[in-house]
């Protein structure tokens, strides 16, 4: 009798132990496999490759920190860095404030708000490649519709080379980015605004608060964490910017719109087939991008949104 209880008990224990470890393990295994094979392995290789010189054909040689030392003296790298800072700061400022203001207007119980939201959201679903190509046609100096429009309005003096002008190229790209992302950030703000209790606004109105006061002293403080998320998202997006810029200018003219992403790509895959690929050096640039975006990703997770997502 006693023996059988013990057996029973240990059997039970065994089953619960199995449940505890094996069941989750079985459920996690497929995802873990793909994460290991297609993120972890290449990531480790990237870190190692940053310390090597390699043209992709001959065997790689270890050169320690040489790639990173060379980066520090590379004018194009610093130019790209400067452009990334310029682009990131500008897009972050505009792509936070403008969507916030527009979401606020659309949240004021206006008729037709749904239609406006739908329209502003449309560019979001289109790929960065397609919008890049579309705007490249629009900005084209000789045949582009933008200069055409200016000419037909009698503003011939205002026509520009746009993407071919080294001072205008980044502002032009920023404008496209604002146009493309407006609907996305507007929706995030709009969704958050729906969560602000209505009686806050009502009691403020009774106290004589006008539209600006309500925005400044209720909406903005209530949206603080949403704003942080939007700012961080914009910052990460700016640091990683590649698709749209590559499609519109490939970093040109003469590096005027070069970002870390385009410079990395050019170094690795020789856009014009002009030089040998420097895979180690390009990977060092990739590691710089990784470090900067990790810093902001960690800030984002620290803001504490991770557990608040609801579908």
């Amino acid at each position: 009798m006693a023996v059988s209880t013990v057996n029973h008990k240990s059997e039970y224990l065994l089953v619960t132990q199995l449940r505890k470890y094996w069941l989750p393990a079985l459920f996690l295994a497929p995802a873990a496999f793909f994460l290991a094979a297609f993120i972890a392995v290449p990531m480790i290789q990237a870190i190692l490759l940053g310390f090597q010189r390699w043209n992709g054909i001959e065997p790689a040689t270890w050169i320690g920190l040489r790639n990173y030392e060379n980066l520090l003296q590379d004018k194009v790298f610093w130019k790209s860095m400067g452009n990334v800072v310029y682009y990131t700061v500008a897009t972050t400022v505009f792509q936070t404030t403008i969507p916030l203001l527009i979401a606020n207007i659309l949240n004021s119980g206006l008729r037709g708000s749904t239609a406006f939201r739908f329209l502003y959201f449309l560019p979001v679903i289109i790929s960065l490649t397609i919008t890049g190509l579309l705007w490249r046609m629009i900005y084209e100096p000789n045949f582009g519709v933008l200069n055409e429009l200016l000419r037909s309005l009698g503003l011939r003096d205002w026509t520009q080379l746009w993407l071919a002008d080294r001072n205008l190229v980044i502002p032009c790209i920023i404008a496209v980015s604002i146009w493309q992302s407006l609907g996305f950030f507007m929706m995030i703000f709009f969704a958050a605004m729906q969560g602000i209790p209505q009686d806050l606004y009502e009691s403020a109105s009774i106290d004589g608060a006008n539209v600006w006061h309500r925005f400044r002293f209720i909406t903005v403080p209530m949206l603080r964490s949403t704003m942080t998320v939007v700012i961080v998202l914009n910052t990460i997006g700016g640091i990683r910017a590649f698709d749209q810029i590559w499609v519109m200018t490939t970093g040109g003219p003469n590096h005027a719109s070069e970002t870390l992403g385009t410079y990395l790509y050019r170094t690795a895959f020789g856009a014009l087939g002009s030089s040998n690929p420097h895979l180690g050096y390009a990977t060092a640039i990739a590691i710089v991008i990784l470090i900067f975006s990790l810093i902001f990703s960690i800030i984002q997770i620290r803001v504490g949104q991770v557990n608040e997502v609801e579908l």
Partner: protein, 280 residues
């Protein structure tokens, strides 16, 4: 004039100004898209003369359809997206369920490792991935491209599915077990059917991500015939540099599949995308 009249007038002026602003903004937002639609149905020599086409000319669509071999590239995109989305959905649903429903030692740590994967930018692994696919003989194949885009995507999709499963009541599983379900049965018969909206959101989000992806697609597929739609369009702009009518038609045809999904499932679509805001 009474005070209320004055108030009403101020109110309506304010409303008028607001609407004027929103409509102006709508014009700016819609103009590039409208221009693309208009250009795609114009005759070539009409492009620079007027905004509206004199008559609808759909021959551009036919021209770009054949000259660019669009069906081939659209098919390639669909194939890559199909493989990738299937892998991501299956693995992430299982993993998300495990994180939400099971208690096991080290759960939170493992979850953070999963999260960390989505903070890695594509650029960081672009070059090693190229070499890696080459060594696996998967470079310049659709399967290779589909696999290269699984890593970060699974991480994010797991995160979403976990969040979704956590909204479902625990009692359901216990009830299922009392009724004699195995753990697998609880997952398969009880929770999975309830998770459909979450799965739909992840599906849409992931499909759009793969359909619109450019950097990996343009790097890992080398043969022109194998190219997916985004790099194919990019390649073609050199050849059609001033044939704006054909190019516009091509861009529109590439947007169409996403646009249809968006129009049909707008709510899920926006949910999926804005949930993406909380991704690292």
């Amino acid at each position: 004039m009474t005070a209320t009249d004055q108030y009403r007038i101020i109110q309506s002026i304010r409303q008028l100004v607001t609407y004027a602003f929103l409509i102006l903004l709508s014009i700016v937002m819609a103009f590039p898209l409208l221009w693309m639609v208009m250009t795609s149905v114009k005759e070539q020599r009409e492009v620079f003369t007027s905004f509206l086409p004199r008559q609808l000319d759909f021959s551009n669509y036919e021209r770009v359809w054949h000259a660019m071999d669009l069906p081939n590239h659209l098919g390639n995109s669909l194939y890559v997206a199909g493989i990738n989305v299937a892998i991501v959905l299956i693995t992430a649903t299982l993993a998300g369920y495990a994180f939400a429903r099971f208690q096991f030692p080290g759960r939170d740590w493992i979850f953070y490792v999963f999260l960390a994967a989505m903070m890695i930018p594509g650029q960081a692994i672009l070059i090693p991935m190229f070499q890696y696919l080459k060594s696996l003989d998967l470079l310049n194949t659709h399967v290779g491209l589909a696999l290269s885009m699984t890593g970060g995507a699974i991480s994010f999709a797991t995160f979403l599915m976990r969040a979704f499963f956590r909204t479902l009541p625990f009692e359901l599983g216990d009830a299922g077990k009392i009724d004699g379900c195995t753990e697998w049965g609880v997952f398969w018969y009880v929770y999975l059917p309830l998770a459909r909206p979450g799965i739909a959101t992840v599906l849409i989000f992931q499909f759009m991500g793969v359909w619109n992806e450019f950097m990996f697609s343009t790097t890992f597929l080398i043969s022109p015939k194998l190219k997916t739609i985004q790099p194919a369009l990019y390649q073609v702009i050199g050849r059609y540099s001033v044939d704006y009518t054909a190019l516009s038609a091509g861009l529109l045809l590439a947007i169409l599949p996403i646009l249809i999904v968006f129009l049909l499932l707008q709510k899920q679509f926006i949910k999926g995308l804005t949930a993406g805001a909380f991704k690292g």
